[in-house]
Symmetry: C2
Subunit: 328 residues, 2 copies
């Protein structure tokens, strides 16, 4: 029986799984970044290659002759890099067509074998999707740091830095976010004051942040969660409350009465137990299924593309055999 390959290519790591047509996973491997926008196309191809080699090693087979392959990656990448990408993978032993799929579908199908429902992912970015007949029927946000990603890790980190800037020059309320942010950037908060009418620490903060690529501001999102948990900081509470409302609005934009199905959460901002995630669930009127990555869903997509109908038994087999491989 011919084997299939599924890839889940994400910003920080890439995962590959080899399986048969019954949904039994035979080999699993992971490697570095799989986001062509942040890492470049050749780095991603190298990550796919390494992840597949490791999966083949675990499987104990040569790693060639797979009958079909799907690669799940960020939505915008699908359009921009799809063709070039597939062309660069001719050495991977993938017979037949390589299909690029949205990572939103992979997130959704990591939680369910039903072919309709909703996914909300909030990591560095934020995006919601409605899935119908196994396809993306509508998406909201996912427009990147400059135009959208409201409530995302970038958005929260950006608000943290702006709130500290406003606190430092008296435009905004004092906040306990100042100390950990200045510390994270190695700035002494007690520098001699006032250069051209501005506190020296504020000027150093400005200089340090403009050295970063904007999306790197997502690294400061955890400061907001820490400040809420540690000291009930009002400014941090307000930031997270606005993030929760924004994510809820993004999800609401894709809800449709005709589409009934599970709600799936992905991304670190919607992690289990956070008040933010609880707010979004309550506003949506139901509890969400959380997934840590999209590798199960990538496997589901590979089987669907091979013409297999996934039922509860097969979905359970994918999850069980993959979990065994990942803990091996």
């Amino acid at each position: 029986m011919q084997q299939l390959v599924a890839f889940d290519a994400g910003g920080t790591s890439t995962r590959a799984v080899i399986m048969d047509r019954t949904g039994a996973c035979l080999g699993y491997g992971h490697a570095g970044s799989g986001n062509p926008v942040s890492s470049g196309i050749f780095a991603v191809q190298a990550s796919l290659r390494t992840a597949l080699q490791r999966a083949a090693q675990q499987h104990g087979q040569s790693g060639s002759g797979y009958s079909s392959a799907i690669i799940a990656m960020a939505g915008s990448s699908v359009q921009t890099f799809g063709k070039t990408f597939a062309d660069g993978l001719s050495d991977l032993g993938l017979q037949g067509r390589v299909v690029i799929e949205s990572d939103l579908l992979a997130t959704f199908f990591s939680a369910t074998y039903h072919d309709q429902g909703y996914a909300l992912v909030a990591g560095t970015g934020a995006i919601a999707a409605r899935i119908r007949a196994g396809q993306l029927d509508a998406v909201a946000d996912g427009m990147g740091w400059l135009l959208g990603d409201a409530g995302s890790g970038f958005w929260i980190g950006h608000q943290v830095v702006r709130a500290v800037c406003a606190a430092l020059d008296g435009r905004g309320p004092k906040t306990s976010l100042c100390v950990p942010l200045l510390a994270a950037l190695g700035i002494d908060p007690d520098l001699p004051p006032l250069v051209q009418g501005r506190a020296a620490a504020a000027q150093q903060l400005i200089d340090a942040v403009y050295e970063l690529v904007p999306v790197e501001l997502s690294q400061f999102a955890p400061l907001a969660f820490d400040a809420v948990n540690g000291s009930a900081d009002g400014v941090a509470q307000d930031i997270l409350a606005r993030a929760a409302r924004a994510l809820s609005t993004t999800l609401s934009a894709v809800l449709a009465p005709a589409v009934i199905g599970p709600l799936v959460f992905g991304g670190s901002i919607l992690a289990r137990g956070s008040a933010l995630a609880a707010y979004v669930e309550e506003a949506a009127g139901g509890s969400a299924i959380r997934v840590a990555d999209g590798v199960v869903g990538a496997a589901v997509l590979a089987l669907r593309h091979a013409g297999t109908t996934i039922d509860a038994e097969m979905f359970a087999r994918i999850r069980r055999t993959l979990a065994d491989l990942r803990s091996a």
Copy 2:
């Protein structure tokens, strides 16, 4: 009697004035961009040179042997480029020290000869200053597009684009801003819909905006003013109301009971007759003096640095003689 030179170096143009120690302006000239951050240091030196040559031509003298010179430019440039800048101007015939001054002081002293008060400038960026004893005593905001500039042209333009993005995917209310924004970017709003669950026009908008340098979003600020004036668009009204509150907060952050003096407005966003400017004035409890640029203030600063005390008569002479030169 030896002559002085004053430069007002701004983002879109640079102005030079030659004067004597009584405040009588003798020659005026202007040239291109004077912002070293956006144009580069050599381009700015060339603009200063050209502006001064034109001023010397109008004066009908050779253009050398000035006893002192001041250059007013954006605050952050003063620290970053000050020394290198002055070193590169040795061929301008400037005897003695070249002093770099904040453009905020030049804005303030373009409206008044008093040595204390307040300035609020909202163009592409936004910043407020308290002036005491002729110096910057405190500034608020002016932290740039990523960290601050709340209520500025960039900020308004950014909010316009984000509001249109939210309207296009159903996260935000419909707004009449969509049509002019898509038109400004050459995008057909009726493109065949849905690529990967997203409207084609929305995807084209995303692609077009990420091609821009972020500060270029300030070009869309006028769309908000047009939408308020033309169709009382609620989304645009909300954007301008929030801009007004943000600018008012920025100004409030520098107000001090011990400092009584004129309030000076600069920058296109605070232009005469706008509801936005009226809001900020009302919140500050007084009417502002508006200035179109900082050249009068640069002349005042040059005289102050030469040890001259400016009184009402001398200030009137600077304004009158400079206006004559500029209309010549």
